[in-house]
Subunit: 353 residues, 2 copies
């Protein structure tokens, strides 16, 4: 049979597979790094006041952009907002990575980077983490078409210092360097303080983790006016009205409640530290985490088997069937109660084998 | 001065300029084809019940997809949803228009088509409308890499029959043909009935106009399973979680209130017909509209001047400084009261000149 011409013109991609979103109730969901606490009460109160849905949202999302700018002490023309940090990162790939040289990112990292590179046909080259899952900065000192990595890195949870980040930026004045700080609020050091000095540095953050608003899809980038303007131009050529009206309003409210933000972040950090100690008692090993998850392995027990058995008990953690990390579990830090349930599962699992 | 390497790698685009969104209160806003009536009460009631914003939305937006499928009597795997029809159309361009032949669309049409073509570097060729702003279907019978046009067309407001559309699809079995039906509910004939028969036909609609939900950003495409699957793959490679949780929930509620939908659509059609008669009395000329706007010109008075003077009176209509249509105004149909205010303006304008 002859393949129709229009079928040949379809863009073929290997789609990203998002973490499982179980539809049943009463599960313990520690697989997609969501925040166990609800958003600020200010956010939920504002939701009830929303009106005028018949009108297009402000395409520039000015209220939200201004609030983010105020929060980080930058100018509004240094802020770009999008539908989650995935939207922001996709726009950044499309805007900045148009050179002939390959872009660089770690071999173990956020699984979307190679997906975007494939989608937009951007040449790329993965740089291997060292045996302790650390980024080797010297690997990024070769000629390249751009650099991107998360700090703290995912799924390892390891955070590098500002000095380390600045070194990479300094060595790459000819590339756009993107630091993906989805998890930075849980103990990492942000590179936002460097954007005044480095016109080629873009820092991306999100409301999905530390601000408990994954359901609203709000991400943003902070960088030089030049970078932000270029992204705006591409965004306006793609979809002028990306942020819907509730996202704009609720994002603003979240930023206004700094006390709640700090409280919940602190609670999660405390739970992580306590849970980590408990895991060590069970023989688990993991790098020091600056995020809201732990990336754990066990010298005796199989990660895949534990993942599958936990799933049967309605406890969801994340397992990646990928080279180098196929004996690891990425465990989101939930409430203390949820972590206790997981510890109980592990104890039971280890006894019954 | 030497231009830095990273600046050379920035994608250069001519961004789309969205219609003005005036920030002051008490304006009569007839410039971006919004619905003058609020969304269904069911939608507003549901908004107040939203919770669990801390969780990621369902990436497949299953509840909304299923409700759309039910509404149009198609299968759920024939429905794609996105952040407004702009998002859906951008994904369709990226997915389907990867051939060497130029894609075709009218010279006078939705201003985003050439913007997307430029953004994704897709070759394109505009086909001129005839002197009465009608699409000449024979122009679309040449070899091409894809076809897209709105039906009813914008900004002309002219709707073509289903027979006309089918003729174009029939003659283009080697191309993906996209019919952009943003305005179809105001009197047009939808091509959704043809998707079973033509695997290469994609129909795109939106909640922004007839469903009064521009502020929520909900668009969708209906087509064969092959087309929808290909779009899903690209979408999952771009941003898995595009539809935020409120959009999914509120979209479902809107579809459930068919009575309100029909009532408001009918009101707008009635206002359009009455307003059109009044405009004719003032000497305006315009094609028969199947949309929620009229595309008007006057043999004596300058469109640009009327646009500017109306603006000073806080009445916003749309003016395009483009070849062939630079003496036209696109006027959204608002409430009867709003249209009366515009008529009063026109009468005053014509007397005082």
């Amino acid at each position: 049979m002859q393949v129709k011409e229009w079928k040949k013109n379809i863009r073929t991609v290997v789609p990203y597979i998002p973490g499982e979103q179980p539809k049943e109730e009463n599960v313990i969901k520690l697989n997609t790094n969501e925040n166990p606490y609800p958003p600020s009460k200010k956010v939920m109160d504002k939701l009830k006041e929303i009106e005028n849905l018949r009108l297009y949202p402000d395409p520039s999302a000015k209220l939200l952009v201004d609030e983010i700018a105020k929060h980080f002490h930058v100018n509004s023309n240094q802020v770009f907002v999008g539908v989650g940090s995935d939207d922001v990162l996709a726009m950044a790939f499309l805007t900045f990575f148009n050179g002939k040289n390959p872009i660089f990112f770690p071999d173990i990292t956020y699984s979307f980077y190679d997906v975007w590179a494939e989608l937009f046909r951007i040449p790329y080259e993965k740089q291997a983490l060292d045996s302790e899952f650390r980024i080797k900065k010297e690997d990024y000192y070769k000629e390249n078409g751009g650099i991107i990595f998360p700090n703290p890195n995912a799924p390892t949870g390891i955070g590098e210092s500002l000095v380390f980040i600045e070194d990479i930026v300094k060595h790459n004045q000819d590339s756009v360097v993107i630091i993906d700080e989805a998890y930075v609020d849980f103990g990492g050091e942000s590179a936002i303080s460097l954007v005044e000095q480095y016109e080629n540095l873009l820092v991306v953050q999100t409301f999905s983790k530390s601000r408990s608003m994954a359901g609203m899809r709000i991400g943003y980038a902070i960088g030089s006016e030049t970078l932000i303007q270029a992204m705006q131009n591409v965004k306006y050529s793609f979809n002028s009205y990306t942020m819907n009206q509730p996202s704009i309003s609720l994002g603003v409210e979240s930023l206004k409640d700094q006390t709640y933000f700090e409280e919940t972040v602190k609670k999660i950090i405390n739970t992580r530290e306590w849970f980590g100690e408990e895991l060590k008692k069970l023989g688990f090993e993991f790098p020091n985490s600056k995020t809201n998850f732990l990336f754990v392995t066990h010298p005796i027990y199989s990660a895949k088997d534990m993942y599958e058995k936990a799933r049967k008990e309605r406890i969801y953690v994340r397992y990646f069937e990928k080279p180098r990390i196929d004996n690891y579990l990425r465990i989101t830090i939930g409430t203390e109660e949820e972590m206790k349930a997981l510890l109980t599962f592990f104890k039971k699992y280890m006894e019954i084998r």
